[in-house]
Symmetry: C2
Subunit: 568 residues, 2 copies
Amino acid sequence: MEKRIWRANVGRQTVVTEAVRPEWERLGGRGLVARILLDEVPPTCQALGAYNKLVWTAGLLAGYRLSSCDRVSVGAKSPLTGGIKESNAGGTTGLALVRLGVHALIVEGQPEGNDWWILRLGAAGGSFEPAGDVAGLGVYEAAQRLIARYGRSAAFAIIGPGGERRLSGAGVFNLDKDGEPSRANGRGGMGAVMGAKHLKAVVIDPGKGELPSPLREEPFAAAKKDYLRELMAHPQTKTYADYGTAALVMMTDTFGGFPTRNFSMGHFEGAEKISGEALRDRLLARGKPSETTHACMAGCVIRCSNIVADEQGKKIVAPLEYETIALTGSNLGLDDLDLISRLNWEMNDNGLDTIDTGAALGVAGEAGYLRFGDADSVFALINEIRQGTALGRILASGAATTGRVLGVARVPAVKGQAMAAYDPRAIKGTGVTYATSPQGADHTAGLTIRAQVNHRDPSVQGELSRKSQINNAGYDTLGVCLFASFGFAKVPGAIPEMLRACYGGEVGDDALQQLGRETLRMEKTFNRAAGFGPAHDRIPHWMTKEPLPPTGSVFDVTEEDLDKTADW
Amino acid sequence: MEKRIWRANVGRQTVVTEAVRPEWERLGGRGLVARILLDEVPPTCQALGAYNKLVWTAGLLAGYRLSSCDRVSVGAKSPLTGGIKESNAGGTTGLALVRLGVHALIVEGQPEGNDWWILRLGAAGGSFEPAGDVAGLGVYEAAQRLIARYGRSAAFAIIGPGGERRLSGAGVFNLDKDGEPSRANGRGGMGAVMGAKHLKAVVIDPGKGELPSPLREEPFAAAKKDYLRELMAHPQTKTYADYGTAALVMMTDTFGGFPTRNFSMGHFEGAEKISGEALRDRLLARGKPSETTHACMAGCVIRCSNIVADEQGKKIVAPLEYETIALTGSNLGLDDLDLISRLNWEMNDNGLDTIDTGAALGVAGEAGYLRFGDADSVFALINEIRQGTALGRILASGAATTGRVLGVARVPAVKGQAMAAYDPRAIKGTGVTYATSPQGADHTAGLTIRAQVNHRDPSVQGELSRKSQINNAGYDTLGVCLFASFGFAKVPGAIPEMLRACYGGEVGDDALQQLGRETLRMEKTFNRAAGFGPAHDRIPHWMTKEPLPPTGSVFDVTEEDLDKTADW
């Protein structure tokens, strides 16, 4: 199927397709988001206004039947950060876009009236259909009704009540291969932008659309084989299959960087109770439908996901991941995995990012709006979010806004976006990433915790983060899951070879880094025009002064190193 | 009395005095605030955290017995804008500081515990006293109790519940010469910073402290005489005495720049009902205690203030000013001056800036939280503010945060601070000031409405605003009321002569502009380090696209002109 740009205007309710501009052809995912926003969105426009655009695009390697390489990016100017945003997710949406020949979907314009719509893309073209009784529903119920209406062969990108309310903590939710709507483009408020466009869901029905084939099959197959061999042989792949991302609990806690009670401690006394080991034991003991390992995308060999069911065998949430365990567990003083799973489900169903919402709840705890360790007080706030009360709106606007409205100075956020589950005072390389990523605080932009360095030695963190950020921006442009990078890292020739085989033309041996740097440069260019400068590439001042128990560490990477890191 | 720097640490509860550094000696007011913040406050610190400092300082000419020249500046890093902030006010505080020999009061540190304190400065030194039952009170009741406790000869800087709650719309309230606590350092959240320091009030008791005398009496007296003659002869002085600032209602409405229903119109059908003429007629008809003209500072010959009492002769508020009439009147669709006066009292009593709070209510109206023109729905939100509910906290955090939490893109704010009562699409010079002032949208930084130009011609506005901003930054450094500038403008030699007479040394003939430029440069330096760049020197994008009825004008001053304006 010929790749085309699909353009949907929510004001005129038109959907047209157009040829892919040459300069957009060899970009996908995060890189293409950056290119399109730079080309079409005024950097100073209002994120929830008429001039912002919401972009969907799969990565460059999506659809070529590679394990863990079919991720979908959603991007826009972020209402959370005020800068550029790309958030990628697994699930089935990326593959559906590729099968339908959608190189990118650009949603633009300002809706008229107050009705909610579903944007439907299929072989016959695109159309707007009334959302009807799907509007107002939580993500899980909405997904069921959409599947009933459009069938299981379609892919769905859905917002929850948080997105409908245009709250900056809202994400976009995609179905995994089993129909679970839990694969989130979670960060940066992409759900709020979708809500501002009055779209409850985008339905992509690829019909008989087929996956593309490489221009040159043989070299592609050879590179694929190398990649897969290395990925499957990597010990980390087994760790993910056994423990999921929750394996990171004890590691981060041991480093003294496990966010506890609004980032006031780096060690949680209940860490073991919410560790990957504890989670695995619990899931194994409970048996089906609980599962310790599960794939979000068809054909994924890593299978880092899981399914958490309760003692009665009723599913609570799937998957439960490390970031959520930390931000809604230790960060709120909670040490019960079932409780945390229920919080996770609630945030998903409300259509919210668990990281920013968990961090917001931590800030609310500091302001006395909940008691750390008291689940009832946490669920009372979840109910506020559910009801869309003023307090609920504050919390669902993320940690930075929560701090502003509740008068809390100790907010763990950069560029308005909450930090993930690695305190930057103890895992300083990831702190450099938080500080300097054009995306705001985001561990996926360049996590450094697995590097064999002293994570508290400030001198080595800049270069470490920089390399990771460049590689990750490349992977995000290719649609490659960051966990697949363990395989690709062992065979650096595989990605250039795959790109040559799929797209032809000249591809340098450092194609991954070239794509990464190009993407980061575009993002920085957008952000500079939106008002970001070196002063925004900083960890919050209080974290450079307030020592983090138990290590007593502060964030002390020099500003010079931070600025060098961000010089893409 | 020798001028000294008073330094109060709220953590250690110490108050010490120190000699004035040479480079601080020839600055006061806004200029000295900028110098102190640059010297002592990390620009990226948290505004509500331990490293921000709150500065009080009177202007350089305060205390020399000049009409309308005793204003007091309060400054800090702003929790509202994230940049530098100085907000000045009339009333009695400036003079008390001068009499006590306080060149500047610097409040610093982080409070321990949850108690509220009163910082008391007097001839015997400074001390912290428990706020006791004054904590939690509204500004009016707090003022009465403080007067009862400390006597009428002291001056008071007070916060209301909004400041105690650390909300970004909170100001600091000073007494006028008659003990009315209505002279606000209103803008930029200085009350929130004071609340974060856990100070309910600063009491300045000058005791027998005397006013300074010029080094050379004769030239000073001559310059003073020239200034006073021109000020009293100026027709605008009479206009202010007759109508107060409310005279601007019909003028702005005629230009099509009168903010109406969240800045969606520039003309209000009820303008005449809330005009200066209507206000004067009403006050004259009601007689005492209503007054059409009233002075906020002893000896002021302009007397722009007023007292609004109801039909039964009960005082509602004093004064009622233009900005409040517009932001809480036309901007909310209200056309009843008594109602507006009551809103004004409520906002004062809660310790809030009427401009940002009025603008926030307008944004809330756009989100459906009130009905424009329906006073009951407005007062219902005032009650939320009073109670400190989550919704009240949102509103009292100002228009920008209200827009963010309620999902409204049409927010009239620059650098996070709400615009005053001149729509920048119709009064474009003031729009340039909003855009480029380091203070955020603030008409007092450079109002252009009286210039004899076509206010919709974009080509002439940059230079107009620039001149006004430089002059006003100078006046704010001198402690000169902007309305006194009508007098000074006619005798440009008076200010340099007064500075020579009072301070000696070399003073250039363009001393006013030199002070203004120096101040603006320092402010811009602070802001740049805090993260501001050219992209922040812009009017909101939507106002460059959405035509303003009835003129159909958009803001179209070029970005090049904006950047030239801000090149101090």
